[in-house]
Symmetry: C2
Subunit: 227 residues, 2 copies
């Protein structure tokens, strides 16, 4: 069970590490952190966090699971033909190809989401739509026929990976991994979606209160930052 | 706002990366990943993931926030006097000292939890009690007078960090970070606690169905693995 997680400068660490902690427990799991060069540190570019690539991308041409994280580097990566070609080539070999957060933009730019219902971080809806995807505000979207599973922003990768574990192993395996991570969430606030966050919190991210995440027809002002 | 996250071999990556993604957004945040040596890769020891230390622990003697992750290395670290001395010395300087998962065992072994209500990963309750702590199955335990905040297993670090962000900045800041991470959890199962997980899932972790997590009086068989 070869699980390939691409690393690129400006990835969001939690997009990758949340799913990693679940998928690494799958029976026979082999984790591949695929960067430009094996052994090279790849930085998230926001807080000084560096993860070490275990393999060079050029060596990795097949995977059972390909999971593409998001981050500022994913937004830049849509203009990197070599990265997009690699995603498309590996996707052709997978049992499941997944994205978390703005990783969906890389799948979109690689041509994998045209005409498909998909999700992404709330700040990236218009970019996702620009690749012909049909945005839905669901947390995890699964297309078994296309071997695709698409997650919403950052922390959605944990819910996505549990969904994948159930399909790759069994629901009992997914439940075991949920217990191992004690994933019994109790957020101290209920502000994890645009429709729920108070205006003061949105203002701290540069998001106008009426802004609907770039969903067609909602209007408003785009965010100053996000993921 | 200096946020110090110690790295040791066998740390659980999500214990650290969940809080990191929140605390790095605090106004003026400076992230310090403190390992044996600056620039050295520290491995989680389970899936091949390596994080790079930004500082040597010996250089780091003060912090605004000290957050100690758990993992197999935390269980080993309770026998490392130098690590425990360092935790105690840095704690003396902090606004808040936090632990996630079995990181609580390191705080316990450093003498910080004697007689205090605390939590940890469900598999480590007896070890926590051995340091004189009073276990509670809450997700996040806060002791403002002692500048301590203690989280349950692995994914609880996200809830803990939002709690800390509210105290260090404001509730609106915490809500903004929750929105930035789109932390609106929808686990596909409800198996994230011993009392909720089905017997088949517990059996996959080597946990007998009647086992109560090592809580005094519940009896049963300890788990074969966990965090």
């Amino acid at each position: 069970m070869r699980i390939v997680l691409p690393l690129f400068d400006g990835f969001t660490a939690l997009d990758l590490v949340g799913p990693y902690e679940i998928l690494r427990m799958l029976p026979g799991a082999e984790i591949v952190l695929a960067g430009e060069r094996a052994g090279r540190t790849v930085h998230d570019g926001v807080g000084g966090l560096g993860l070490v690539a275990t393999h060079a991308r050029a060596e990795v041409r097949a995977a059972d699971v390909l999971l593409v994280p998001g981050g500022p580097g994913a937004r830049r990566g849509v203009a990197d033909p070599a990265l997009l070609e690699w995603i498309g080539a590996v996707h052709a070999t997978t049992r499941w190809t997944a994205s978390v957060c703005t990783g969906a933009l890389l799948l979109g730019a690689a041509g994998l989401l045209t005409g498909k219902v998909a999700t992404t971080h709330w700040s990236a809806v218009r970019e996702l739509q620009s690749y012909g995807a049909v945005y839905t505000p669901e947390r995890v979207v699964t297309h078994p026929g296309d071997r695709l599973v698409i997650g919403a922003g950052v922390s959605a990768g944990i819910d996505l990976a549990l969904t994948l574990a159930a399909r790759l192993a069994s629901p009992a395996h997914a439940q075991a991994y949920q217990l191992a991570l004690e994933y019994d969430p109790r957020p101290p606030y209920d502000a994890g979606a645009l429709a729920k966050a108070p205006a003061e919190a949105k203002a701290l991210l540069g998001v106008a209160d009426g802004w609907g995440g770039g969903i067609a027809g909602t209007g408003g002002t785009p965010p100053g930052r996000g993921a």
